[in-house]
């Protein structure tokens, strides 16, 4: 942005003598639909938490609301800051980013705070931080850099293999925490960057078929020979959605309750009579199952509204992919867009009972500082790509 502004000042334009305030703040070339979708989702999240979690923490009815509001404000500030920075710099910092990513994800094993049998987050005095959430963005930023950089080195196969290794390394670390959901996001983000990096279709076909074989091995073959790779609950969660009634009291139970919750919301929702989510039938209602809360409380109107906002968000993200001034931007935007799409689909699908329970939060809606912050930062990067693209166009136009 700085460079661009200078360039513009060097070629004084007769019609733009004053630099507007919006331009100074870096807001001028933000993608407004994207911003509005993100802000609306965050606001709706705070609103929903405010209504649905009053009784969750005894004595402090605003426990989740206040915290989520703070996370959102921090996220928005972070987004605005990133908007003003030229994302292209992250390409130069790729090795540092990648190293930071791997180290922070690994450090969880040492200093991490164990919650429900898995170490995912660092515990600080007033908050906890889950590095793998920010890792989704870091992985995209670093991997896109590696892809651009190594675009002319080695054969196509070697390159594909290299990208895969770079992406799957951190994914494996996260998987071992164990955090199956986030590691899947890492894998998908890796594939997305490769996809926009021009990896041939045939390679994807090969990767796809390998994945199918792997899944078959993990879920069917390994347990039968007595060497399970997934933890029991992970496997049960992954498979129970296929026949939830059979697991009505186990893993499928949560999902069954979530489906009942959403269904019972009907067209307009049950408001405060939303027993399913209010009375703890649906677990983790402020995090993984917040979509069920929305579905039950606000009905089809509310749930469809939220889905529409995500559709809008993804559409704008895709638009930014095509607008980007350079390939790095395209790859980064593509990676971010796909990982957002993936998270939304898997989480909402899980709430609707058509996807397995993987513990992936709903971006911007689920309660949680790390997730909210990381998502806003990712949107900030998208904004930066958009701003840079507009400035570059203007710059070219000015020439």
């Amino acid at each position: 942005m700085m460079y661009a502004t200078r360039a513009r000042q060097a070629h004084a334009e007769p019609f733009a003598i004053r630099v507007s305030l919006a331009e100074r703040l870096g807001l001028a070339h933000m993608d407004w639909p994207l911003t509005i979708a993100a802000l609306a989702l965050a606001a709706f999240s705070v609103f929903t938490l405010g209504q649905a979690t009053v009784d969750d923490v005894p004595g402090s009815p605003r426990y989740f609301v206040d915290r989520q509001a703070i996370y959102c404000v921090l996220g928005i500030v972070g987004m605005l800051l990133l908007t003003r920075i030229d994302y292209s710099r992250f390409r130069e910092l790729r090795v540092g980013i990648y190293t930071f990513l791997c180290v922070s994800v690994s450090l969880v094993f040492v200093f991490g705070f164990a919650a429900r049998g898995s170490r995912r987050a660092f515990e600080f005095p007033f908050f906890s931080f889950q590095p793998s959430e920010l890792g989704k963005l870091l992985l995209v930023l670093a991997l896109a850099g590696f892809v651009i950089d190594g675009a002319r080195r080695g054969s196509e196969r070697q390159r594909t293999l290299r990208y895969l290794c770079l992406g799957l390394g951190p994914a494996a670390l996260v998987f071992l925490q164990p955090d199956l959901g986030t590691s899947l996001v890492f894998v998908v983000a890796t594939l997305a960057v490769m996809y926009f990096g021009g990896v041939p279709w045939t390679h994807f076909a090969f990767i796809g078929s390998t994945l199918v074989v792997l899944i078959a091995l993990v879920l069917v073959a390994a347990p039968t020979v007595g060497a399970p790779i997934l933890k029991g609950y992970q496997e049960e969660r992954l498979t129970s959605f296929l026949n939830p009634d059979e697991h009505a009291s186990g893993a499928g139970y949560q999902q069954n309750q979530s489906v009942v919750a959403i269904g019972s919301g009907q067209e307009t929702g049950r408001g405060d009579r939303a027993t399913q989510t209010r009375l703890d039938f649906v677990p983790e209602r402020h995090t993984d199952f917040i979509f069920a809360v929305i579905g039950e409380r606000y009905g089809f109107m509310g749930a469809a509204f939220v889905l529409s906002l995500y559709a809008l968000l993804f559409w704008r993200a895709l638009k930014i992919v095509t607008l980007s001034k350079n390939s790095y931007g395209t790859l980064v935007a593509g990676g971010i867009a796909v990982s957002l799409l993936f998270q939304v689909f898997v989480n909402v699908g899980m709430n609707l009972g058509i996807m397995p329970i993987t513990g992936i939060p709903l971006p911007l809606m689920s309660y949680g500082g790390s997730s909210v912050l990381a998502t806003f930062l990712a949107i900030g990067v998208l904004q930066s790509i958009n701003v840079q693209a507009h400035l570059a166009q203007k710059g070219r136009f000015a020439w």
Partner: protein
Amino acid sequence: MYLRSGDRPAASPRIALRTAVLGGVAVALFAVLFFRLWNLQVLSGDEYLAEAKNNRTREFKVIAPRGDILDREGNVLVDNRTSLALQLNMQKLAADPVEQRAELARIGDLADMSLRKVRRTIRESEEVAAGAPVTLRKDVDYDLVYYLEENQRQFPGISVQRVFVRAYPNETRAAHVVGSVGEVSEEELKEPRYEHLEPGDEVGKGGVEYTYDRYLRGEPGLTKIQVNALGQPTPGGQLVSEPPVPGDNLKLTIDPDVQSAGESALASRGLPGAFVTMNVHDGQILGMGSSPTFDPSVFTRPMTQAQVNALYRDPVSAPLTNRATESYYPTGSTFKIITALAALEGGVITPSTSIFDAGSLTVGTQSFQNAGGASYGPLTLVPALEVSSDVFFYELGWKMWDSGELQRWAAKLGIGKESGLDLPGETEGLVPSRRWRNQLYKEGETDRPWSAGDNIQLATGQGDLQTNPLQLAIAYAALGNDGAIVTPHVGMEVEDAAGRVLKEFDPKPRRRFHIDPAHGAAIMEGLHQAAQGPQGTSYGIFGGFPVEVAGKTGTAQRPPHADQSWYAVLAPYPDPRIVTVVTMEEGGFGAESAAPAALQILEAYFDKHASSVSASGTGLAE
């Protein structure tokens, strides 16, 4: 810097293609989500709403232990023990009737009950509280519990619940006073005192368990457990847990030594009867017992038919009846103090008025004899009481036959009146009067109107008089406390678990009346002579008792039964602190069975209080 090596013009055809493909995928994915959402909420919303409404939290009550009942010295009369109860949750049984029958049969084998009995228990329980777990058997032993845990699958819906059961460490001790507990009945639930109770709750069914139920009961706790649509508790789904508040302890006025002496005195003679010992000044009941008695613990487990018969179907022994308060008899000569008081206060006689006892009194065609055919010659009040001359009192009864004075004084002294005792089951009794008999005569219930003979009978505590040991004790107490009709009570204090007193019971006297001190003293002297004078009717019993007392024998005629033995005694004389009344059905003369029993009770009391008696100077004899 601006155009770097990696930079290329945006949106190359390849990127555009790949973006378009991704866009297509995204459209498809969002379409799937929207379609699913539409399907769930709009197309099948009704079903899910019904399911959600069916999806309830189930509330489980956590029973609060009832408070302990203690005697005045803090010894436990009633406390609790925990017991294991076998409960059946009907919802978990198979829906198919054949399968359900097999399950119930298995469960019956387990609980040692026939299939019919299991079904009956379920039906009875469903009538009271449909849907609640059915308690099949209480007091199951641990072997059964272990077996159940190992074979849980065979017994769907069976669970073991820890319940509190009343425990009676002294078995029959003060059984009629403490009473028993049982499940609240449907009728009781409609009463305001059981307002917040639910079917299945235990409440006091008699004795202080009933009267002081609200202190003893405590507050049940609540555990809310979320259940799924099948009614099964979900793992980790305990939502709210309010701990139960245990009931407060109740301390009674019962003195352990007096109580046990009274009970053993009754038991040793094996006759139906009762005793009551009361503080004459404040109405505290130090001891109260009735024979035959019962062990309240029979109500804590299922009763056999034999037990049911013994408790409920035997009108003669009627062990559940508290004969001290719920049975009504004529009192024989113990009533004479009332006749004496009425005559003195009514101005019929003075303490020095002499009446000639010729052995019988003839009024019209009726002749009234002294007991045992004795004749004592000229008598004033004191010797008349000492020897228990009937003729002396027949005279008084005859003189007052038309005035209603005797009935008025009987009423003043609480005879034929509810006493206000804090135990259920009391009724008034009867003091026969002109109005009463004439009313009966008018209704054709009897063959004659009121006559002098009725009053003559009443003057010696015979005939139609219906009163109980407690009323007599209150009347005697009034003599010893200058005319206060105390409110008898067995409840002394309510204490919390830590022993802090939350409430004290000290009911005021119900009424007071004036007794001329000279009259009171004359009657007291007469009673003292009767007990400890050489001519006294109970001299043989109390003559050697170291504490001076004032006591009167009574022998009530209850045809077709044999005579009923009575003894009423105030002690120490002349400033009594306690009154004891004993009666024994078919016990013969007062001195024969009731007086020795009263002596046993007084011995127990004064063994403990001897020092205070001598210190106060109220007089140890000799």
